[in-house]
């Protein structure tokens, strides 16, 4: 133990003289007296087996950087990984704004001294509203899985029904989260997809509709990258049954793809990670929920909804919570979820991103991704034994079937890794029918050279 006791830079009142003065003001001899209400049998008297503090930043940074050095990044490696987390370009201004102390370290102040946060998040809601063509968007939630869960539960409360149909092309990760949130209160039934197009069958769905079905949840594009064309027919069938259409969507494609509201979605949800946030090992997720401006729907949001309003000064505008005392009770009420800390800062990054991109940027992005992924699909399908699994329009991601090559996805990815490439992840563990298949993602960050190197490496390995 060091013989000079240094006050930690983060604990200013640890200075012995200051401590003593404050204790004297309280009328107490020792800080331990302040814990006198805690009985001895509850006191921990041992020593925590945690290393001595690295109180100098120099040591700390060196140590942690050393730990992190055993990570191989997507900047150092050509990556085709996707499946719910994407490497999109993060504009410098997004980093600049999300790094500002005023936003980074704020929390839950009033719409007076924290007016900036309210306006930024109202703008986020509004920008997403334009992208989705819906009038109500919430402040960000944890991630897509939780947004989908909440959307499903909202559908259940609004219709008063307890069953949800879910397209089985859903991300397994998200389905797991939905099960945690929705069961046992809501029952989940999976709906199958076409093995050729990965699409849903509107007639099949119609046959499954009963008066217990609150709605159907599908993702479009699907987890497998395919685009569902029958949304309108599915939506119509659901509405005829008094059920709701809930659609999960990746906002990055909405510069060129029709938003769910255009084909009858009542609730849209998804993730904002790609809108100006890094991959961060899957740690920078943020979910959104959007609906039309229908009181029945608005009253079911468990999250905060910021609204714009006037102040007492003419020409001045402020913000507040819409329908703050939001409760609604049917005879069979379900608890609304909870309000807490979620992913607001990523919402602010997303607002900055969309403001920078504008409609032209989103269109360029969408087109770029479409062209590039189509190029990748073409080049890969030219390889012997390699084929594209689904015959459908794809956005950003696609399933590559290697089963005719005689090599497993694990083997292929291992070989690719040795060449400095992260191959698409193995779908065999997630979908029984997709043994031998991998999910490849191509974004605006992928170069043509990256794709060519992938195909060259595969050609060499599979030969």
């Amino acid at each position: 133990m060091a013989d000079r006791q240094r006050v930690h830079p983060y604990i200013p009142n640890s200075v012995p003289e200051v401590k003593a003065e404050m204790l004297a003001e309280i009328g107490v001899d020792d800080i331990d007296d302040l814990y006198e209400d805690i009985p001895e049998e509850l006191r921990f008297r041992g020593k925590l087996n945690i290393p001595d503090g690295m109180t100098s930043e120099l040591e700390l940074e060196r140590h942690v950087e050393n730990v992190l050095s055993r990570n191989q990044t997507c900047g150092e490696t050509i990556s085709f990984l996707g499946g719910g987390c994407y490497r999109h370009y993060v504009p410098a201004i997004c980093n600049e704004i999300s790094g500002r102390s005023e936003f980074l370290t704020a929390y839950a102040g009033e719409p007076y001294e924290d007016h900036g946060r309210f306006q930024a998040l109202f703008e986020y809601q509004s920008l997403m509203g334009e992208l989705l063509e819906m009038d109500v968007v919430n402040v960000p939630t944890y991630d897509w899985g939780q947004a989908a869960s909440t959307s499903i539960r909202m559908a259940s409360r609004i219709t008063g029904r307890d069953t949800i149909l879910i397209a089985d092309t859903i991300s397994p990760d998200r389905l797991a989260v939905i099960r945690t949130y929705c069961e046992p209160v809501t029952s989940i039934e999976l709906v199958g997809h076409s093995p050729t197009t990965a699409g849903l069958d509107a007639d099949d769905i119609k046959a499954r509709l009963t008066d217990r079905v609150a709605g159907l949840y599908l993702e479009n594009p699907t987890y497998l990258g395919t685009v569902e064309e029958r949304g309108r027919a599915i939506g119509d069938a659901l509405h005829a049954n008094g059920s709701l259409l809930v659609v999960g969507v990746d906002p990055l494609g909405l510069g060129v793809l029709a938003p769910p509201s255009r084909y009858g979605a009542d609730i849209a949800c998804g993730d904002i990670q790609g809108l100006g946030n890094h991959t961060y090992f899957g740690g920078a997720l943020g979910g959104f929920i959007a609906t039309h401006d229908d009181e029945r729907f608005v009253m079911e949001y468990p999250s905060r909804l910021f609204g714009i309003c006037r102040t007492e000064r003419a020409g001045e505008w402020g913000f507040g919570d819409v329908a703050y005392g939001r409760t609604s009770f049917a005879v069979r009420e379900q608890g609304k979820e909870f309000v807490g800390t979620a992913a607001a800062l990523y919402g602010i990054s997303a607002a900055v991103y969309l403001s920078l991109m504008g409609p032209a940027g989103m269109r360029e992005l969408g087109q770029h991704i479409v062209q590039k992924s189509q190029y990748a699909m073409k080049r890969l399908s030219e390889l012997d034994g390699v084929r594209l699994r689904f015959d459908a329009f794809h956005f950003k991601e696609f399933v590559v079937d290697f089963s005719a090559t005689g090599r497993t996805v694990a083997e292929i990815n291992s070989a690719l890794l040795a060449q400095g490439i992260f191959g698409g992840h193995d779908l065999g563990g997630e979908f029984a029918a997709l043994e031998g298949c991998a999910l490849y993602a191509v974004t605006e960050v992928t170069t043509r050279e990256d794709i060519d190197r992938l195909t060259d490496a595969l050609r060499a390995y599979l030969a």
């Binding site: 102040g109 919570d321 005392g325 409760t327 609604s328």
Partner: protein
């Protein structure tokens, strides 16, 4: 332009300063004056009105002459419109009622009154729930739930309401105290009726907190829980109070507003039932008794209620008593227990303990019921 009505009961609260309980009736009033009691209500009304001074431009204040409101208003620098006057030399309950009627006829947006339970009762009897009302506490005995916690608080709520800062009203109980009992140190209050007051809980908004549900929504949630729990064969004896009303409404039943009703098989089989009727029913089959605290002091059962007697309680059994109350209502008790005072110490003692109070749908709160305040 908003219209504010003001009624001051000049004699309310006089007794308390000289050790008398109340000044209802000329005899007591004379005695109080002899003892040197000083009228308090006017001061308290003025205290409340101070908060409204900033609204003078947009506010028309209507009141009765002299000590019934004009004096308090003038003392604050306000310019009231006097629309009547009380009796001389002393004002009476009839004056209060008349003032209330006339102010209601003038279409006031809010009627502020300074007084006690007696004053609240007189106003309630005159205008019921036709106007939004708020009490400035100035009486000695405050059992009714229609008062703000202090004169300054009353002013603050009134100002907020008139400015549009409170979006909703709710009904609150007016209690009638038995005078004779009271003078013998026995608190015997019965539910007299309801007044409509600003739902001041609505103006409280915490930015980080989960949503503050409004009182009516919570009452409907409680009702949903009760309805879900009901069984066909059971007799449900439903006590009075604002929290029980949404339950009756949810069943589509029109119960008595102030009395005890009996339900079975979701049908109303007894309305404003007497003790005898209740005893007959509870002997006929398994019964549950649904109670909610009535008034501002948390009384579950007071002496003023004759119907739910010790005999009824013994017949039903403590384990079959369902207490209902909203979380806001329980919070307003500030940790004090719910109270029972049936007039029979043994019954009171029997009722003591912790209850599962229904506070929402699938939500209970463990709360203490006691026979001592």
């Amino acid at each position: 332009m908003k219209k504010l009505g003001l009624i001051v009961n000049p004699v309310a609260g006089m007794g308390g300063t000289v050790g008398l309980k109340g000044t209802d009736g000329p005899e007591l009033l004379r005695r109080a004056e002899e003892l040197g009691a000083v009228p308090q209500a006017e001061q308290r009304a003025a205290r409340a009105l101070k908060a409204l001074v900033p609204l003078t431009e947009d506010l028309e204040l209507l009141t009765f002459g002299g000590s019934m409101g004009e004096a308090a208003a003038v003392a604050c620098g306000l310019e009231p419109t006097v629309i009547g006057s009380g009796s001389t030399p002393r004002t009476t309950a009839a004056d209060t009622a008349e003032a209330a009627r006339r102010l209601a006829a003038h279409g006031v947006d809010l009627l502020l009154f300074a007084g006690g339970d007696g004053t609240a009762r007189d106003i309630c009897g005159a205008i019921g729930c036709s106007v939004t009302v708020l009490g400035i506490p100035a009486g000695v005995k405050i059992q009714s739930a229609v008062f703000a916690t202090s004169p300054a608080a009353a002013g603050q709520v009134a100002e907020s309401y008139l400015r549009g800062g409170i979006g909703r009203e709710r009904e609150a109980e007016v209690m009638d105290i038995d005078e004779d009992d009271y003078r013998r140190d026995i608190l015997s209050a019965r539910l007299y009726g309801y007044l409509r007051i600003p739902d001041a809980g609505r103006q409280l908004q915490g930015r980080k907190a989960a949503s503050a549900p409004d009182e009516q929504a919570m009452q409907r949630a409680i009702a949903a829980e009760l309805v879900e729990r009901m069984t066909e064969d059971r007799y449900y004896i439903v006590g009075p109070g604002t929290t029980c009303r949404p339950f009756m409404q949810m069943l589509g039943l029109e119960g008595s507003l102030l009395g005890v009703d009996i339900i079975r098989g979701r049908r109303l089989i007894g309305k404003d039932a007497s003790e005898r009727e209740i005893l007959e029913q509870t002997m006929a089959g398994p019964s549950s008794l649904i109670l909610t605290p009535v008034g501002g002091q948390g009384f579950l059962l007071g002496r003023g209620n004759q119907q739910i007697s010790p005999a009824v309680i013994k017949q039903v059994g403590k384990e079959n008593i369902i207490v209902v109350a909203t979380a806001e209502k329980l919070s307003s008790l500030r940790g004090r227990p719910l109270l029972v005072d049936t007039g029979d110490p043994d019954t009171d003692s029997y009722l003591r303990g912790y209850y599962r109070v229904v506070t929402g749908y699938h939500e209970n709160t463990i709360y203490r019921v006691s026979d001592r305040a």
